[in-house]
């Protein structure tokens, strides 16, 4: 019986635990996507904080403060552009 089963079973490739592959792919992916989510949270908090600081001195509208993050391989830069009305 065991011999029969051995003959019928698929011996082309060793049994591969695909669940382990799934787990690894998901862990990497969700860590990355979570980072992007945190980044957009950080951006909106920065934008609100900067707006509040500037508005104490100058009258600016929310759209006049742009905050961007550029993530490079070794350096991350934060660009803040503020339009101050003349």
């Amino acid at each position: 019986m065991n011999l029969l089963r051995w003959i019928w079973s698929d011996r082309r490739s060793p049994p591969r635990a695909t669940a382990a592959v799934a787990r690894e792919r998901l862990t990497v992916l969700l860590a990355h996507e979570g980072m992007r989510r945190d980044e957009s949270d950080l951006l909106s908090r920065l934008q609100a904080g900067i707006m509040a600081a500037i508005q104490r001195q100058v009258a600016v509208q929310p759209g006049q403060v742009q905050v961007e993050i550029h993530r490079g391989p070794s350096v991350t830069t934060l660009a803040i552009e503020i339009e101050i009305p003349a």
Binding site: M1, A19, L29, E33
Partner: protein, 272 residues
């Protein structure tokens, strides 16, 4: 009476939100609680069908939200359990027919009348899904042990933590994981993510594990929540346990199994 508002959500479609809403709603109602199950899937309603009430829908959620029907006119009482009520979604309107203020008002009214309100979310992460989760006190994430479902659930966790009233008040949303269509044999062979894999990746505590079961299709075929249609089966027992944990009981998480038929057992022994 102040109801707990629960949202059944997932991001991905077809994972078992509606089945779970009906099953948990019926289990809670049978335990003596008054329960309203609310279908938020406007345009693609199905909770009425799974509950076996499709021929009794006269008014729906959209009409109540828009003020053309009263809540009391639109609530449909279950024929099997007198404390179980359904508020159906609309067939004809699209999901933009729901307004944020209108939904807030309806949920506010339901909160006064029931012990539990279960909101069956539409699939996706857009407006309809956000409206369904908006007023929730507790969220149940329905997940299949499969990569796309897990990823979508992670996105939904992000929404629950940012777009809900609770999140906006700075409170933590209470979240629970309900793993459905789980196959212990395949997980054992390494062909399917295990319960611990899914729980660890999403970092949400486990409410229950519903095994893949023939009862689920049989029950929906005949218009009964699986907890009422096949109460002795593995799926129903899993939902009953999940319901007791939701209600605050300390029940250890197990994966119920259906008894192997005698013939199957004999064959298994022979083959071994």
């Amino acid at each position: 009476m102040t109801a707990k508002i629960l949202v059944m959500t997932s991001g991905k479609g077809g994972v078992g939100k509606t089945t779970s809403t009906a099953a948990l709603g019926a289990a809670l109602a049978r335990s003596g609680k008054s329960v309203a199950v609310v279908d938020f899937d406007v345009g693609l309603r199905n909770l009425d069908l799974v509950m076996g009430a499709e021929r009794r829908v006269v008014f729906d959620l959209v009409q109540v939200v828009q003020g053309t029907a009263k809540l009391s006119q639109a609530m449909i009482r279950d024929k099997r359990l007198e404390t179980l009520w359904l508020l159906a979604a609309s067939l004809t309107h699209d999901k933009d027919a729901l307004t944020a203020d209108g939904v807030a008002k309806v949920i506010g009214e339901l909160r006064e009348k029931f012990d539990w309100v279960i909101c069956d979310s539409p699939a996706g992460i857009d407006r309809g899904a956000v409206l369904a989760m908006r007023h929730a006190d507790v969220a149940v994430l329905v997940v299949n042990p499969e990569v796309s479902s897990v990823r979508d659930s992670d996105r939904v966790i992000g929404l629950l933590d940012s777009k809900t009233e609770k999140a906006e008040r700075g409170e933590a949303m209470e979240k629970h994981l309900l793993i459905t269509r789980y196959d212990p044999a395949r997980a054992g062979k390494g062909e399917m993510l295990t319960i611990n894999d899914v729980r660890d990746i999403l970092a949400v505590p486990l409410l229950g594990v519903v095994p893949e079961s023939r009862d689920v299709l049989r029950a929906s075929n005949s218009g009964a929540p699986v907890t009422l249609g096949y109460p002795a089966g593995a799926a129903a027992r899993a939902y009953d346990d999940a319901m007791r944990r939701l209600a605050g009981e300390d029940v250890p998480v197990t994966v119920p199994t259906d008894a192997t038929p005698l013939l199957g057992k004999l064959f298994k022994r022979k083959a071994a």
